[in-house]
């Protein structure tokens, strides 16, 4: 144990002496933090819903690049040959190297939490112990994969190639870089077969205020454990201590075992319906004051009734973005949606009938609530944002006759800072919260787009 402790401390010391390791281990995570902070500014507070992704990227970098690069470099130099001459098992030294990497990544993650708070006032994890458990499970899974990479790579450049082969799919379609809610349905299913998704899920469960904690991430934790065990077993069976050793033919079944763990976890998740985006009518959002930004110029009377035809005619539609774009999109109809999305959007449409913000007595506020719900889906880049906007606008058209709706919408457009707006719509399945400013801006756009339709300037093809 004395030897392994000395090895652990030496590995940590050497890591902090290597400029490249410090840059990749600590400066790159800061870069990702700032980049995410710039991109996801609309959440309140910024990064609240992206910290799980950020931490997963940091773990992936340390485990799938940092550790195997160090191990392969040491193997090429003959360090592991020298270790083999020591009394005691080589396995102990491998575990020591993995524990050292765990501590190196843990420090980088703690640094990210501190910086996120300093820069964006992003809060620390809601369940710190649960977050530590989730972090440990993700680290275990990814360090196992890192060990496999170290055994498969014949030289340091090969580590980069293999690492990228794992890193990039998880970033792009694995729910790690691009959030799951912004992915198309097929990609969300693919993500279920990649470990990154489960790392983000487990980390978010203990990080987010009101999150379910460890109890709500049991499946994700088990998935990470299974993937980690399979990778560690495969990595240890393929262990190469000498640069001259070739990868044995017996390696193929062990590689297959590690990949089978990914596939098995994905299949179970798919069969148990865990790959769909959550949609829970009973989702707890707390008091309505928590989700509605306060009005700055409220008026409980019905001033919208005083809106004149001239004011309606004065509304300018020239600057509205196209319905098929990324800002304030509206689906032309729901017929072309994939089956999963169609089912989800139908559920959202049904939920609107009982959704409290859609039932408030003040018709203007009710319309604002509905329009800002569409804005929430839009700003959060929900994969079904256009279709959700479609059903919400249809619902609004059923709330009042066209003659009244023209004046209500014109009043909302002419008084963008009046009343209250929603900044989240979790009960409808929107994952995350946006800023009041973003909600008001997009609400105004949706109000104008709906007014165009009520005035007959735009016609939709499929739906009423």
């Amino acid at each position: 144990m004395k030897g392994l402790a000395a090895h652990l401390l030496m590995t940590l010391r050497l890591n902090f002496r290597a400029r490249q390791a410090v840059v990749y281990g600590y400066l790159v995570p800061v870069f990702f933090l700032v980049a995410f902070g710039s991109v996801f500014r609309s959440s309140v507070p910024p990064l609240l819903h992206e910290m799980g992704q950020l931490i997963t990227i940091t773990i992936l970098g340390g485990a799938c690049f940092g550790m195997p690069t160090a191990m392969v470099s040491e193997r090429e130099r003959g360090v592991w040959r020298r270790y083999r001459l020591l009394p005691g098992s080589t396995a102990g030294l491998v575990v020591s190297a993995m524990v050292a990497r765990y501590l190196i990544v843990l420090l980088a993650v703690v640094m990210q939490f501190a910086l996120a708070w300093c820069l964006y006032r992003t809060p620390p994890p809601a369940h710190p112990l649960g977050e530590l458990v989730a972090f440990s499970a993700a680290c275990f899974a990814f360090l196992g994969m890192g060990l496999m990479i170290a055994m498969l790579a014949g030289a340091v450049p090969a580590v980069q190639a293999l690492g990228q082969a794992i890193f990039l799919p998880m970033i792009m379609i694995g729910g790690v870089g691009v959030p799951l809610r912004a992915l198309p349905v097929w990609a969300r299913h693919v993500a279920g077969f990649l470990p990154g998704r489960y790392a983000v899920e487990a980390l978010d469960a203990s990080y987010l205020p009101g999150g379910p904690g460890l109890a709500g991430s049991f499946f994700a934790l088990m998935a990470l454990a299974v993937i980690g065990i399979a990778a560690c077993v495969a990595g240890s069976r393929m262990f190469r201590w000498d640069a001259g050793q070739k990868l044995p033919r017996s390696a193929m079944p062990w590689i297959a075992l590690a990949l089978a763990a990914w596939a098995g976890v994905g299949l179970v998740a798919d069969r148990t319906g865990r790959l769909a985006l959550p949609l829970d009518a009973k989702a707890h959002e707390g008091p309505i004051s928590n989700i509605i930004a306060p009005s700055t110029a409220g008026n409980s009377s019905e001033p919208w009734r005083n809106v004149t035809p001239a004011e309606i005619a004065a509304v300018n539609f020239d600057q509205l973005p196209p319905d098929s774009g990324v800002v304030a999109p509206i689906a032309d109809n729901l017929d072309d949606l994939p089956a999963d999305s169609k089912e989800r959007v139908a559920k959202i449409a049904a939920l609107l009938d009982h959704w409290p913000p859609g039932q408030v007595p003040d018709i203007v506020q009710r319309v604002r609530n509905l329009l800002s719900a569409a804005a929430v889906f839009d700003v959060l880049e929900d994969p079904d944002e256009g279709a959700v906007a479609r059903v919400i606008l249809d619902d609004i058209r059923r709330q009042a006759p066209d003659d009244e709706l023209k004046r209500i919408l014109t009043y909302i457009i002419d008084h963008p800072d009046s009343g209250a707006v929603l900044t989240r719509a979790q009960a409808l399945g929107a994952q995350g919260q946006i800023t009041e400013g973003a909600a008001r801006e997009r609400m105004e756009m949706y109000a104008a787009k709906l007014l165009e339709r009520v005035l007959g300037k735009v016609h939709d093809s499929g739906n009423p």
Binding site: G3, A5, A18, G78, L86, P87
Partner: protein, 307 residues
């Protein structure tokens, strides 16, 4: 039959890589306080044999006993008693010699203090310098110091002077002789014949995985069927047939104006040669006497030249 007092006893050790028999049922023993050399051309199986012996590779067959312990059954116990300097082992660039000695010592029950090793191997000036700044000689001295962290009774040195300049090589030879003086045993592999001759008490010549000869260097030379060579140049051409017929001379071969004679009795042969030249009125211009060397023995046994 293995000697109970041997530091190392290897019996019928075999190791193959696919169809290549790298080590072909080799046996030898090393006595306490003995430097034993494994001499052979590149690819003879020296490093494979050494790596099997120290536990880096699993042999296909054979037994290895180190200090009376079965090395194949108790590799951990054996590794605590031996030290090794392997070919081409480096350390991490940022590690210092002092840190390396401390780290490797931590794996042993009674490590030698790093300061003692730093002093013994002349690493004082570079004790806290990064490995990447050490010269080749300093790296090799550090490798020897690392082999000493557990105060071993048996040292394995795999071509320890390969690639070093003559000055550093002489320093290391002195260090290896010092090990013997301390009563340690040494297994040394080398392809430098002079080094083997100068350092080893006994040696084995390895060729294609087999020991083709073993013994003390002088014994190997004495056992050689090769003869002393007399290389003669005279003022007028020499008659090889007449020279070969002289008493004590076995053969005479002309080569580039000189004639090489082979003999076992150098003194009488030179006297007969002088008489022969005088009788023929020929004048001796040059005479070189070349005794049988270890290199001759090596070439004779392996058919290859060494370093």
């Amino acid at each position: 039959m293995q000697n109970a007092s041997s530091s190392l006893a290897v019996c019928d050790l075999a190791k193959s890589y696919g169809s290549v028999q790298a080590v072909d049922f080799v046996s030898f023993e090393i006595a306490p306080g003995e430097i034993f050399g494994l001499l052979g051309p590149n690819g003879a199986g020296k490093t494979t044999l050494l790596e099997c012996t120290v536990g880096l590779r699993e042999p296909d067959a054979g037994t290895i006993e180190i200090g009376g312990i079965d090395a194949r059954k108790n590799p951990g116990a054996v590794k605590a008693k031996i030290g090794a300097v392997l070919q081409s082992t480096a350390l991490q660039d940022a590690m210092t010699p002092r840190e390396a000695l401390r780290l490797f010592g931590a794996f042993h029950a009674r490590p030698v203090a790093p300061e003692r090793l730093i002093e013994r191997f002349g690493l004082g000036e570079k004790a806290d310098a990064r490995f990447e700044t050490l010269s080749g000689g300093q790296r090799q001295r550090l490798a020897l110091a690392l082999a000493f962290v557990n105060d071993p009774a048996l040292l394995f040195l795999d071509e320890p002077t390969s690639g070093l300049d003559p000055q550093v090589r002489r320093e290391l030879h002195g260090a290896i002789r010092q090990f013997r003086a301390e009563g340690r045993s040494v297994l040394l592999t080398t392809h430098y014949i002079e080094e083997a001759h100068a350092l080893c008490d006994r040696m084995a010549i390895l060729h294609r995985g087999r020991i083709v000869a073993s013994g003390a260097p002088e014994e190997l030379i004495a056992r050689s069927p090769s003869h002393t060579r007399l290389i003669v140049r005279a003022a007028r051409p020499l008659d090889c047939a007449a020279l070969a017929a002289l008493p004590g001379i076995f053969s005479a071969v002309e080569n580039g104006g000189a004639v090489t004679l082979q003999t076992r009795d150098t003194g009488p042969a030179i006297i007969e040669l002088a008489r022969h030249l005088e009788a023929g009125g020929n004048e001796l211009l040059d005479l070189q006497v070349k005794k049988t060397s270890l290199e001759d023995v090596f070439i004779e046994l392996t058919g290859e030249t060494c370093a």
